[in-house]
Amino acid sequence: MSTPTTTASSATGAPRRGVLRRLLVHPLGGVSMIVLAVIVVVGVIAPWIAPHDPTETSLSMIFAEPGGEYLLGGDSAGRDIWSRLLIATAFSLAGGLLVMAVASLVGVTAGLIAGYYGGFVDAVGAWFTALTMSLPSIIVLIAARAVIGPSMWWTMAIFGIFISPVYYRVVYNSVRAVRGELYVDAARTSGLGDGRIIGRHVLLAVRAPVILLMSGVIAAGIGMQAGFDFLGLGDPTIPTWGQMLNEGFYNITRSATLVLWPALALGLTTVALTLLGTALRDELEGTSERRRSRKAPAWSLDEDVPAVVDHGGEDASEPLLAVRDLAVAYQAGDGYATVVKGGRLTVRRGETHGLIGESGSGKTQTAFSVLGLLPKGGKVMAGSIVFDGQELTGLSDAQMNRLRGTRIAYVPQEPMSNLDPSFTVGHQLTEPLVKAAGLSRKEAKERALALLARVGIPDPERAFGSYPHQLSGGMAQRVLIAGAVASHPDLLIADEPTTALDVTVQAEVLDLLRDLQEELGMAILIVTHNFGVVADICDRVSVMQKGVMVETGATADVFDDPRHPYTRALFEAIPKGAPRAPLAGVTSAGLLGTGALK
C-alpha cells in the first residue's frame, strides 16, 4: 500500500494552478476582475484625467445638457458630472480600502491573540462583538458624527473598527481550530515557541479566510460611505457617489441622468467586488462547480474483473440476496471514479454474511447499493441486485421505500450521528412504524418500548423520552438496532456496527445481534474490517479489495485456507499475539512486585 493516494484526488479535483490564473478563467471571477481593474485605474489616474475641478461651480452650467463642455452635463450647482464621477471613484475606493485596512488590522490582531491565548482579550473580544451586533452601524456613525463632524476619513475608520468583529470572528475561529490540530501539538513537542507556532502554522491557516473577507468588506465600506453621504452627513468638500446620488435624487424631476451615473458606478463596483469574493471562495475552497456538459459522460468499465475465489459449499436454495457484477461509480469532473467494479455477493436466508475489506475496498458502497441509498453523486452503473427474487436496480424510490425498513433494514457505524439530535429516541423509533408500517401511535409506542427492552436498555420508558445526546454510544447503537429490527426484516445490513464502540461494548452488541438473528430468523450482512468480528459472528465471508470481490466461502474454510493472495496478505497482517521477549539486561527480579494492583 505504498502508492500515494493521488489517484483519488486527481480524479475529483482540477489540477492545481495559481489562484490568480484560476480566478481569471472563472466565469464570474474573470469579468469582475476586469471591471475592478478598470475602476481602480480610473480611480488612480482620476486627478489627471478629470477635465474640470469637481467642486468648481458655474451658473451657466446648471443642469447643462451632456455632450457640451461637460461630457455628462452639469449638476444643480453647475459642476461637471464627469469630473465629479471620476474623483468620487478615487475617494470611494480609498474609503473602502481604509475600512478594510482598519477592520483587518484590529480584527486580525485581536482574533489572533484571543484565539491563541484566550483569557482577557478573548473576553473583551466577545464583549465588543456582542456590542457591535446590538446596534446598527449607521446609528453609530450618525452618533459619531455629532462628535467628529463631517470627516470622511474618520467616519470610515470608525466604521472599520465597528465591523472589525467580522475579521475577529473568522480569525478567532480558525485559530481555535488550528490550535486543536495535532500538528500544532507536534510543533510544541518539537520545542517551537508560541511566536514560531503562530508564524508557521496559525498565520497560514488564517490567511485564506482573511483574504476571502477582503472584497466583501471593501464593498461594505463603499456602500456605507455612499449611504452616509446620501443622507447628507458627509464632507461637502469631497465629491462622492453618495453625494451625487443625493443631489440627483432631489432633482430627479429635472434630470434622471443625475442619478444614473453615480448609481451605475456604485452598483458596478459593489457587485464586482462581491462577485470577486464569491469567485475567490469557489476557487480557494474548491467548491467551484466545474462546467459540466449537460449530458452525463459515458461510463465504461476499463478493466477486466478477475474471477472470485469461491470456496463453494453453499446450499442450492434460492438466495435471499444475490448481487452480480455490480458496478458503482461517482461522477468526478468529466469522468467517473468507479468504486465498485466486481460486486458479487450471495446471502442466504438466516445466515450471517461478513463483507470484509480495507478502506476503499467498496464494501460500504456495495451495502448502500442494496439499500438504494448511495451518497449523493453515486450511481449503480451496471450489474444486478436480486432480493428475494425481485430485481432492485432500476426500482423507483417509492418502490424501494416499500422494501426499506420492512424487509431490508440498516444498522449504521457511528451511533451518534445517525440519530437526529432534535427528536427524542421515541419519536425516531415510532415515526417509521406509523408512517411506513401503518401502526397506530399507541401500537407503535408499545412496540418501541418492547424493542428497547429487548435490545437490553435498562429503563425503556426513560430512553423513549430521551434525546440522543443523553445516551452513551453503546446505548445509542442499541437504539439503532432496535429501530432496524422493528419490523422484522428479512435482511439486516450492518455497516461496521461495532467499529465506533469500545471492545467490551462491541462484544455485547455482537451478542445482541446473534440473539436477535436466532429469534427473528433474519439474514445479516455485516460490513467490517475486523477479522475477529467475522470469526465471532459470520457463517460466511466475502473479501473485497479495491472494489472487487476476491474471495468468498464459509468462514471456517476461508480462515483455514485463504487462497487469494490479498486474503492471505490480510491474514498475515493480523497481530499474531506473540508477546515481546523481555527486555535484554533486565533480570526477572526487576519484574517482581508487579501483577494485579488491588
Binding site: Y183, T189, S190, G191, T504, P575, R580, G595
Partner: protein, 286 residues
C-alpha cells in the same frame, strides 16, 4: 528504581469543571508506572480510561494536579517553559491521526525540519538529516518536497515517526499510532517501530485500545480503567493470564481472528460474565 528512564508516580490530572463552581474533572487518578531505557511499555484502556491524558501529561500538554513525572532523575511534572522546550529533545510523540498531525500546507521536508529550527541546525545539515530520517522510515528521499495530501495514511504516519526521531529522543510517546490505519498498513508500521527501537534503543510508551497490538509491541503492560491503573506487569502475563477482572473481561471481549478459538473465547467470556454477576450478587447480599 534508579535504572528507570521515566517514572510516573501517583500521577493525577484534573481539568477545571465547566461553569460556575463546577467540580473539576479528574481524568487520571493516581497512576504509577515506569519505563526503562529501550523498553516499550504498553498502556491499554477503553475510551475514557485516561490513557491519552497520561501521555499528554508526560509531554506537558495536560495539567498535573498531583504526583510526579520523573525523567532521568529529574522531576518534569511542572518544568519551566524553557526547560519544557529543552525536554522536547528527549521526549517525542507520534499521534493517532495521521491526517491532522501534519500541516496540510507545509511540505514533508518543512514538517521534518521543524524540530531543527529551534536548535538552529544549519540548513545543509538539516537537509541531510531529513534524507537520513526519510530513509530510516523507508520513504523515498524526494518525499521531502511533496505535500502531505500526496501520501496515504500509512505514509503520513511514517513521516510523523520520522519527525519524532529527528532529535534522537530517548522516549517516544506513541498515542494509538496505528488505530487509524488499515490492517496491512498497520502491520508494516508496527514493524517499523520495532526496527527503529532495535536500531536506536529508543523507549516507547505505546498507548492503544487493542490488546493484541499492545501484546506484540510491549515488554510490560499497564491496564487502565476510568483513570486508574488496575493491572501492571510483564506484557505476556498481563495480556494472556490477567488477574484483574477488568483485564480478564477486556481480553475475552476482543475477538480472535479464528472461528474455533473465538467460539471458545466467547464461551469463556459468557462464563466469566456470569461469574462476575454472581459475585456481585453475593457481595450485594453480604
Amino acid at each position: 528504581m534508579t535504572d528507570s528512564l521515566l517514572t510516573v508516580d501517583g500521577l493525577q490530572v484534573e481539568y477545571p469543571g465547566r461553569g460556575f463552581r463546577a467540580q473539576p474533572f479528574r481524568a487520571v487518578k493516581g497512576v504509577s508506572f515506569d519505563i526503562r531505557p529501550g523498553e516499550t511499555v504498553g498502556l491499554v484502556g477503553e475510551s475514557g480510561s485516561g490513557k491519552t491524558t497520561i501521555g499528554r501529561a508526560i509531554l506537558g500538554l495536560a495539567p498535573v494536579s498531583a504526583g510526579t513525572v520523573t525523567f532521568n532523575g529529574e522531576d518534569i511534572s511542572h518544568p519551566t517553559k524553557q526547560r519544557r522546550r529543552e525536554l522536547t529533545r528527549d521526549i517525542q510523540v507520534v499521534y493517532q491521526d495521521p491526517y491532522s498531525s501534519l500541516n496540510p500546507s507545509l511540505t514533508i521536508g518543512d514538517s521534518l525540519t521543524e524540530p531543527m529550527i529551534v536548535r538552529k541546525t544549519p540548513k545543509r545539515e538539516a537537509q541531510a538529516r531529513v534524507r537520513e530520517l526519510l530513509d530510516m522510515v523507508r520513504l523515498p528521499s524526494d518525499a521531502a518536497d511533496r505535500m502531505p495530501r500526496e501520501f496515504s495514511g500509512g505514509q503520513r504516519q511514517r513521516v510523523a515517526i520520522a519527525r519524532a526521531l529527528a532529535l534522537d529522543p530517548t522516549l517516544i510517546i506513541c498515542d494509538e499510532p496505528v488505530s487509524a490505519l488499515d490492517l496491512s498498513t498497520q502491520a508494516r508500521v508496527l514493524e517499523l517501530f520495532l526496527e527503529i527501537q532495535e536500531r536506536t534503543g529508543v523507549a516507547y510508551l505505546f498507548i492503544s485500545h487493542d490488546l493484541a497490538v499492545v501484546r506484540e509491541m510491549s515488554h510490560r503492560v499497564a491496564v487502565l480503567l476510568h483513570g486508574e491503573l488496575v493491572e501492571w506487569g510483564d506484557g505476556d502475563t498481563v495480556t494472556s493470564q490477567p488477574e484483574h477482572p477488568y483485564t480478564q473481561r477486556l481480553l475475552l471481549a476482543s475477538p480472535v481472528p479464528d472461528p474455533v478459538a473465538q467460539e471458545q473465547r466467547r464461551a469463556d467470556r459468557l462464563r466469566l460474565k456470569q461469574l462476575h454477576a454472581d459475585q456481585d450478587l453475593q457481595a450485594g447480599a453480604a
